[in-house]
């Protein structure tokens, strides 16, 4: 029996060792790569010159703007619909659920093909109609609205699940009824009673969306816009060291954000019990 336990311990150790190595080595090597000056010493050039790199600030600002607008649009569309489904029209719920799962079935590359197909209708068929101006306007390289549309679609499933989990934990119907009985109007009930109770769900949805938008590459690169991830890629062709440095930083940021999120979630749970 003791030997069996020893064997299990040994097997577990081996599995963890191999996997640990596989996951740790690329991180360590990348870190080393980003500070290696190729003469046997170290340099932090890649990190210090980052801010001055051509295109860095522009692309980062564009990405952050896209992220902010996407979150706003997503929540404005999704929250009223989901609340309505809970409060007034239960039949709406399966509709929303199916709708929010559909983007999962379509790979992003395929969605992008569809978007390009639609955008091509512009010059092909709509040349003389006001729609043509719209098609041009949503492709403005300074702020491509078409990317916001794509990102909101891609984020729908994540955001839906985050919000749904949040609403599951709170009895929205009772809350609204209680507020209405106390004389609050619909808007007041929603804004001062329901939404504060959904804080963590809203926060989760927002954070997931931001992470998705900041990392998204496929659509932006195929449609020819230049947000942050596209910049990392093109910059990597000329300055590999800096792009590796940025990659490491982005990993670190995602990690911190997720840690923060779980800390917030835990804090709230502790406060409730």
């Amino acid at each position: 029996m003791a030997r069996l336990i020893n064997r299990i311990r040994f097997g577990r150790g081996l599995v963890l060792l191999i996997c640990g190595t596989y996951f740790a080595v690329p991180m360590a090597a990348s870190l080393w790569f980003s500070i290696d000056d190729n003469k046997g010493g170290t340099t932090f050039r890649a990190y210090t010159e980052l801010v001055n790199a051509p295109g860095f600030t522009d692309s980062l600002v564009l990405s952050l703007e896209l992220a902010g607008v996407s979150v706003a649009v997503l929540l404005l569309l999704l929250v009223p619909a989901m609340l309505a489904a809970r409060l007034g029209a239960p039949k709406l719920r399966p509709v929303i659920e199916i709708m929010c799962s559909m983007p999962l079935v379509v790979p992003v590359v395929a969605l992008t093909t569809g978007i390009i197909g639609v955008l091509r209708w512009g010059p092909d068929y709509l040349q003389d109609t006001p729609f043509f101006q719209t098609v041009v306007a949503i492709q403005d390289p300074n702020f491509p609205i078409v990317l916001v549309i794509a990102y909101v679609l891609m984020a729908l499933p994540f955001a839906y699940r985050a919000l749904d989990a949040g609403m599951r934990g709170v009895d929205v119907v009772t809350l609204v009824e209680a507020a209405r009985n106390c004389g609050a109007g619909w808007l007041r009930a929603v804004f001062t009673v329901v939404l504060p109770n959904l804080r963590s769900g809203l926060l989760n949805a927002a954070v997931l969306t931001v992470a998705l938008v900041l990392g998204e590459f496929t659509t932006a690169s195929i449609l020819g816009f230049a947000p942050f991830s596209v910049w990392i890629n093109s910059n990597g062709k000329s300055d590999g060291q800096m792009s590796v440095a940025v990659s490491m930083l982005s990993l670190l940021i995602v990690w911190l954000v997720l840690l923060l999120m779980s800390a917030v979630g835990r804090g709230r749970k502790a406060a409730r019990s």
Partner: protein, 327 residues
């Protein structure tokens, strides 16, 4: 940052929530809602029901435009000639579809399927013992650390992942230089190189997906098996694996889908030197096709959607089934 191109994280979270969102598990509506639903008061500004649909209208409209239009564009475009074709475009044809399943495009489709099958299989085989080793660990801190790391790495992909591996195992990567791997025939920019990179986010994804199922295995089952004289191997062969089978298969299919849809990592790392369907679509969309074949990309997109739909059609029933077992 997140692998935006893959549908992964949401599905993973779906797996974690145990398919709670499935239509089969509708939470009981409170009496008030049912009453409101059953007794619509017509004439009073449409009643609460009408207003509810009104609140959902923006989402429905957005979806119809943002998702519906591209879907129509693919469905129509894949079966019609493109506008740069000799006949002016718009006529029905199946040439796009047949073209997308021939020659270089078929090679790419097959390459994608092969890569996805291989990486999903390896990730599933590696992920299961890893998840088991972690789930049965005595140290709570360690378990939580691994789970949070898996969450990050499963979402980590795209361009940053590609650069990390170029820095590690690329031609001038640190590990390559250290061990002189190029002399032994190693190259990151090949099929096997790409597989190694994909595993970096697939294995954590498998760990996330399978851990709830592993935690659902009751210790009593193991003890009962042991009391009846079963060895560890027999327990796994006759008890644990059959119970885990739907989750395992579901995880495998999910990994396949993630790997199949991935674009950014391969694009940033190998460009089109490894034939993959997603790369070919990207190429075709950038105008890299023969004149008159402008709609080929749409047909390729359709191919991809068909494969993804098949994946989901296998995954969802399995997901529901395993949720039932391990509830």
């Amino acid at each position: 940052m997140t692998t935006a191109p893959t549908p992964v994280p949401a599905s993973a979270s779906a797996a974690r929530s145990g398919g709670g969102g499935a239509p089969g598990s509708v939470t009981p509506e409170s009496p008030a809602t049912t009453a409101a639903a059953k007794a619509p008061r017509p004439g009073r500004r449409g009643g609460p029901r009408g207003r509810a649909w009104l609140a959902a209208l923006p989402l429905l409209l957005f979806f119809a435009i943002g998702f519906g239009l591209p879907a129509v564009a693919i469905a129509v475009g894949a079966f019609t000639t493109s506008s740069d074709a000799p006949d002016g475009g718009g006529t029905f044809t199946t040439d796009n579809l047949t073209g997308s399943l021939q020659g270089a495009y078929f090679t790419a489709l097959w390459g994608s399927v092969k890569l996805s099958l291989l990486t999903a299989l390896i990730a599933a085989v590696v992920g299961l013992p890893l998840a088991q080793a972690v789930a049965t660990s005595r140290f709570r801190m360690f378990r939580e650390a691994v789970m949070s790391a898996s969450g990050v790495l499963a979402n980590f992909g795209g361009v940053p992942l590609a650069f990390m591996f170029v820095a590690t195992l690329g031609n001038s990567g640190e590990v390559t230089k250290q061990f002189g791997l190029t002399k032994h025939g190693w190259s990151l920019y090949t099929f096997s190189g790409l597989s190694v990179v994909y595993l970096y986010f697939l294995v954590p994804l498998m760990v996330i997906t399978i851990t709830p199922a592993l935690e659902g295995l009751r210790t009593q089952w193991r003890e009962a098996a042991a009391n009846n004289g079963a060895t560890g191997v027999q327990y796994w062969r006759h008890v644990a694996l059959p119970v885990l089978a739907p989750s395992l298969l579901g995880g495998f299919v999910l990994l396949f889908g993630a790997s199949f849809a991935a674009y950014a990592t391969a694009e940033a790392m190998v460009g089109s030197s490894v034939p993959l369907i997603s790369m070919q679509i990207g190429d075709a969309l950038s105008g890299n096709v023969l004149v008159g074949q402008g709609n080929l990309a749409l047909a390729l997109g359709l191919d991809m959607i068909v494969v993804a739909c098949l994946v989901m059609a296998v995954y969802l029933p399995l997901q529901r089934r395993s949720a039932k077992w391990l509830a």
